[in-house]
């Protein structure tokens, strides 16, 4: 089977975010961008399934600006076979991303889509579930273990009280949690090879998807700040402060 892995280009998780002073958004100029960490885990999982003989081909896909090609090349350097870039300069919301991914899934007929549970920029945590709904496929979100069987996958999910294991019919959508695996680094020779791997370019219109935003962002602001407090010298002083000053004990 083929595995489709949607990957998003986001601000690197180590970057300290700055809100633009005029409230129109977050500063993105000259900021280091990387593949969304959960999507790296998704690529890794797909590659491991291929290496274990459970899949023949891994296709990475990204929806975003021309520069998202870099993110796709990272996926190719990790070991994906080919890439699809759906190019647009407009920000695309999860619902529209899911609609575009539906178009790609219909064209490619993958046996499995593995994607991140959450993009660390919008923190939406919804695209995978939406794609599953639009395709009328089963979903196994927040996965920490994936086992492929005959026509189905057994997935262990991280839930509030612990873990839940479900079985989903294939094709299905799996979204990754942090502990699913430890993604590999691309080696230099593989980075070189990735430059020659096939990368198809499309547009949202090719899939008949209108990317007009449903949510209008009225304002983006800094969160209410929190000031550093004081250092106490001893446990006794700490307990005293918590009792009298803070009143929480």
């Amino acid at each position: 089977m083929k595995i489709l892995v949607p990957v998003k280009r986001v601000v690197d998780y180590n970057v300290k975010i700055r809100v633009k002073p005029d409230g129109t958004g977050v500063e993105l100029a000259n900021v280091k961008m990387s593949m969304n960490p959960f999507d790296e885990i998704a690529v890794e999982e797909a590659l491991r399934l291929k290496e274990a003989g459970k899949a023949e081909e891994v296709i990475v896909v990204s929806i975003g600006p021309a520069k998202a090609e870099e993110t796709l090349r990272t996926g190719l350097a990790m070991g994906a076979d080919r890439a699809i870039l759906v190019e647009t300069d407009q920000p695309v919301e999860p619902l529209a991303v899911a609609k575009i991914l539906k178009g790609i899934a219909e064209a490619e007929a993958p046996g499995l889509v593995i994607m991140g549970k959450q993009a660390i920029d919008d923190d939406s945590n919804q695209t995978g579930q939406m794609l599953a709904a639009l395709l009328n496929w089963g979903q196994a979100t927040f996965a920490s273990k994936v086992e492929i069987g005959e026509g189905s996958a057994k997935v262990t999910r991280e839930v509030d009280g612990g873990l839940q294991t479900v079985e989903v019919k294939l094709p299905a959508i799996v979204t990754t949690d942090l502990r699913l695996n430890e993604p590999r680094y691309a080696s230099l020779p593989n980075i070189m090879k990735a430059k020659k791997k096939p990368l198809d370019k499309k547009t949202p219109a090719d899939f008949g998807v209108d990317t007009t935003a449903r949510l209008t962002v009225l304002k983006t602001e800094e969160p209410g700040g929190r000031k550093a407090g004081i250092k106490v010298a001893s446990v006794a002083e700490l307990v005293e402060k918590l009792k009298t000053e803070a009143g929480v004990l």
Binding site: A140, G162, E222
Partner: protein
Amino acid sequence: MAILLLAEHDNSTLSDQTAKALTAAKSIGGDVHVLVAGSGAQGAADAAAKLDGVAKVLLADSGDLANGLAEPLADLIVSIAGDYDTLIAPATASAKNVMPRVAALLDVMQISEITEVISADTFKRPIYAGNAIQTVQSTDAKKVITVRTAAFQAAGEGGSASVETVSAPPKAGLSSFVSDAIASSERPELTSAKIIVSGGRALGSAEKFKEVILPLADKLGAAVGASRAAVDAGYAPNDWQVGQTGKVVAPDLYIAAGISGAIQHLAGMKDSKVIVAINKDEEAPIFQVADYGLVGDLFELLPELQKAL
């Protein structure tokens, strides 16, 4: 028109996350109906009926709904969505699983993890691990919303709503439940605890985590949290993780021991009322958000603290 609130429960008891999301729902305005979907869930439905401000409880009781699988639950919600302008749920693991599926079936964008209601169509929500706050206005006809419960007080009791039954649509059979490994504990839940004691990588082993963090937590009647590093290293189970991708908490007192204070961790706890940090590195970023910082070795300080209480 009315608001449908999806209850979080374990069939017999209602999670207080439901009462917190109810507060958000009430500030949107309109009759609030609570949907309790489960199997043998009369107990949870009765509890929901007692919440102050609930106009009606809908109980969908079926074996197919026993394990909170997203596919049948989404089909159920969509089957009754016609009567509602707003579909809202606390941002628990189960609601985060199902609500976007509902949103897509209704062709609307979900508004994830709101922290404030500005009006019936305008909300605040954190992005970038809480490093920026967006005010968004939805242009969709129906609103599908999840609520960051740490940002809302729980609604009180005093209601006496009627409980009506609704039937679940036939099962699509896309997925099935295999097993659960849900830890049961006498300790309070992270998301409702007044005090949390959290441990980080510095604990060094599962044994030390148990030996140093748990007795202090028990003395304080506190819930136990952990950093991702501690969870990844196997010192603590996954459902204890606090942060951007773990639980978001806002207790009265949060004690962070041996946690450096990465932004992804801060995202889950920086709205706590009082933060105490114990770390041997006086430059650790956690001290920038701590009300009270104690520099030193946690293996000495935590037992000392436990004795002093």
